[in-house]
Symmetry: C3
Subunit: 418 residues, 3 copies
């Protein structure tokens, strides 16, 4: 909104990027020294640590993204290592101090059509409104992300629901709670949102009788649910979210199969999103069945499934998306947003579901400067995949050309109702 310059290389490129800080941490670097979780740190010193350890990133997706950002966006022409650390730091700092490297200039330079943030349901979205009026040549839209309002085991559930009901002036009943969520979704819709986002450990849904839902909601507020009951309530609320999507048209995206905050000590010292979220197996086929039994055949309902366990692509997600009109295959996410993994993804889903049932490539980055590199990587890998099919006589060149355009243009626009 304010188009403030980025302050320094480390806070722009390192401290918030848990892909980078996690691998340094694995090699013995203290997270505090990298400014993780807002720890006070000297940006130049952080940058030196990264430079000294830069060889660790050879072959990784994060290494490729940062090198591309340095080379293509920041126009640094020497390799990063202990020797070049200070020079590179200075050059980046110089760039960041010029108008061409302010956020808005880069947003234009990157030719971003749509950038979606994820936001708390109670956010007033004033920032989005201001941006919209500022004449940016692309859209920055909010996304409704209600995890903490739906999960009774989230430590913030009680207080979150309390604030939700207060803001919306609804009663502390299950009906009031649903009405409040509907109200906030409507608020997001008015501010341009096209989707809701749900981050869950398991792709589990449940279809409760209304009387059971009411009862569990009250006990959730009282904090007296057993773990099994909390799971059922959480699963039911995911189904209610689908129900509301059927009503209001917001696309539902589900990011499932991550155990958050695996290391309690790290969470206590540095907070969430600091590199110790770890994938776990989850079952989309049985887990989503109650939701799909209710809403899977609804024409305008869009449910986009993202996974970090790549075994589900050929076994679960492609078969589901190849039948249910509502189900779309999310682009390879997180650890899988990398060249070889994207290539495996395409091979895993295409023979069953073709190209039309995917979300098309969307990135999921916290590292603003990596956006061009991520899209470039995905496009190259997809082009390589299509080229192989042409060479093997499996598709025609003209079809490959159409698909290459479609999966980065019309397809994501259609799936996300843009």
């Amino acid at each position: 909104m304010d188009d403030q310059p980025f302050s320094d290389p480390a806070s722009l490129l390192i401290s918030e990027d848990h892909y980078i800080t996690r691998l340094l941490h694995a090699s013995g670097v203290a997270l505090d020294s990298l400014g993780v979780g807002g720890a006070p740190s000297d940006p130049r010193q952080t940058w030196r640590i990264v430079a000294e350890n830069w060889h660790l990133f050879a072959g990784t997706a994060s290494g490729y993204w940062l090198e591309e950002a340095l080379d293509q966006v920041l126009e640094i022409d020497e390799a990063l290592d202990a020797d070049s650390a200070d020079r590179v730091f200075n050059q980046i700092q110089n760039r960041l101090d010029t108008p061409d490297f302010r956020p808005r200039a880069l947003f234009e330079r990157f030719k971003i059509d749509v950038l979606a943030t994820t936001d708390d349901p109670l956010d007033d979205l004033a920032g989005h409104a201001a941006l919209r009026e500022s004449g940016l040549p692309g859209r920055v839209i909010p996304t409704f992300r209600p995890d903490r309002y739906l999960d009774p085991e989230n430590t913030q559930f009680g207080s979150s629901v309390e604030r939700l009901l207060a803001l919306t002036e609804e009663t502390a009943t299950f009906e009031g709670y649903l009405a409040a969520l509907r109200g906030r979704r409507e608020h997001f819709l008015h501010h341009g949102a096209v989707s809701t986002d749900h981050g869950v450990e398991e792709a589990y849904t449940h279809d409760l009788e209304p009387s059971d839902a009411r009862r569990l909601f009250q006990r959730a507020l009282d904090g007296t649910l057993t773990p099994a009951e909390a799971r059922v309530f959480r699963g039911h609320m995911l189904l209610e979210m689908a129900n509301m999507s059927v009503e209001d048209g917001l696309v539902m995206t589900l990011h499932a199969g991550v155990l958050r905050n695996h290391s309690s000590a790290t969470f206590q010292a540095h907070g969430p999103d600091t590199g110790h979220d770890i994938p776990v197996r989850t079952d989309f086929v049985n887990g989503l069945r109650p939701l799909l039994e209710r809403f899977g055949l609804e024409r305008d309902f869009h449910l986009v499934l993202f996974a970090v366990d790549e075994t589900v692509y050929s076994r679960e997600i492609a078969p589901l998306a190849g039948f249910y009109p509502s189900v779309y295959i999310g682009a390879p996410w997180w650890f899988l947003d990398a060249p070889d993994a994207i290539s495996r993804f395409r091979a895993a889903v295409t023979e069953t579901a073709g190209f039309s049932r995917g979300s098309g490539f969307i990135d999921d980055t916290r590292a603003f400067l990596s956006i061009p590199a991520r899209h470039d990587t995905a496009r190259r890998v997809d082009a390589g995949f299509l080229a192989r099919l042409v060479v093997e006589g499996r598709i025609r060149t003209r079809d490959a050309e159409r698909i290459a355009d479609d999966i980065v243009g019309a397809q994501p626009r259609r799936v996300f109702k843009l």
Copy 2:
């Protein structure tokens, strides 16, 4: 038997092929308009819908099969799209009206040695007998498929067992039930059957004490089994089938890991096998252990394992088949019967089990005209795999040649006792 001409392009190539109809359905086409589940529909209109949406199949296995059938079998020389739809329809219809495109002529043209149908245990197999006497230059043999007679949770279990006992004049005791099944297997053997086929959600077996089996059977007839007891009974009956295979020599094929009829609404409207069977994880190693403890070392027992979860190939099926003389690795099945998936399959199993422990390629199609394309695909992919091993210095050319022949000839004949 009667060698009736195929009626029209849509009912021959589309309506029964749930690989094709499922992807159209995912894209918003109503199943009724495709004639799925016997819905009355205009073949030409169905064909137009397929042609308009044909781009959806680019890169899919079904797309490749249908294009090969059009090009190689039906000798259509233009690409299918909205513009060509009617012309192609007419050309196909013309072909189907000529003697060269009757079922028997195609059977001969495809040089089919053996075609196995799957049949209800109570089928009198008169059709097979008639075919046998008709002088077809290959064998059409029945396969014993008793799922509904073995699963107390199948809605048709009670009535099926009742009919089974009535036909075989056996008593409603567990012993009578086993004797009846034995009798029907013998009937199938007399009609040329070489195998039994079992489609199950999980690869689960159980070795019950006779008194427990008797007790559960009576309660299964009464419909009073709990889900856990039904599972145990079903698992025990799979083991009894293995026992009978040891006795009578029928090869046992197991197709495990599919949740049938995921969408109840679709099942109610269109019936089974309409595109919403979805793979699920299953555990062959623990699940089959009771069966293999009893019969795994029997010399003439053949158990062929088919999977739709490709992770089991390197982890479970190849290690089992690389030790137990009775266990064979089934060819990639269903969603996995596609070029890239077959290639991954070969890479997953060969280093552990070589080439001799596989079933060799067998197709599993409902689409008669796709048979040549399916075998052609598998042969090409296997040849490509062998060629890579030769180039990498891992096998000799003469071994590659021997194996390429063996896995489509001697090997499946040996595994299926043909």
Copy 3:
């Protein structure tokens, strides 16, 4: 120690190598005829059986290893088949009777730096001491392998713990038991051990309260634990092993996810390690969490995770090793120690964790003569992987060269504290 010549080709190359004997068994060869489990057998006859069936090994890892051993180590220049069997047998026997083919000469010829055996905790390690004093140009070091002392469901648990306590003169209390284990680890450390090895069916750990651990230990001695309690105790003891590793610095290696002795009849007739250990799914992320919560951030603790389910590489092990400084990715193990599997392994882990978080290649062989072939295979595949990254513009040639050296030299030395 004594440098006795190897007695004959069959006992050197076949009878102890369950990779080879298992596939012959699957093809109908009786294990007794191969000398498995110490069965008396005629080496020449065993060799003939192998030669007649040698075509079964085309494309397998074991086939490649044995051919390399014949060609490169034993300098046999004709292919093995029924016709050449006796000639090859005679040539090998001649080699084995010469001084150049005694164990010590081969050890030198193979340029082995370090060879680690796995040993019972009560072993006096006199053999290792003798070897050390004999002036071998490399190290042969023991590894502490306490499985049977930690698992109450192991049939030898009671007697093993009894002997452990007797040898160490400790009391039959939980504290005495821990002290005894500590004492034996110290003994191993004094004899050059750098690691402990743990073979478990599941990667499960548990952090018991001391009073509960004491109580379960007493009941374990009494043989009165339920299976669930035995699991918890076993999980807790794995955590205690990690605790001791933090104290004494021994690297902890975990080989998880194998169901041992799948065929009871084979186990009873031929004993363990006779080819019917089968991989099963296991969950490293939840299973190891208690252990990692306690010790995962300890700087000098090294935990190397080996798997035979390759799906865990990208989903579980690379993400864990990319965050926890203590966790290392074990080289592809057992069924996965083969060219295509190694290649998949590299593609699965590198984009997330780079090259620095792996153990580097270590073989795990019972077949002494296959050591050069195994290292050669891994090096070739890794070099091929690096070359691909160079060609694709993903790493620089000089980085590829550094990494190729590092992962077979500095890296395993650092991970195993050599």
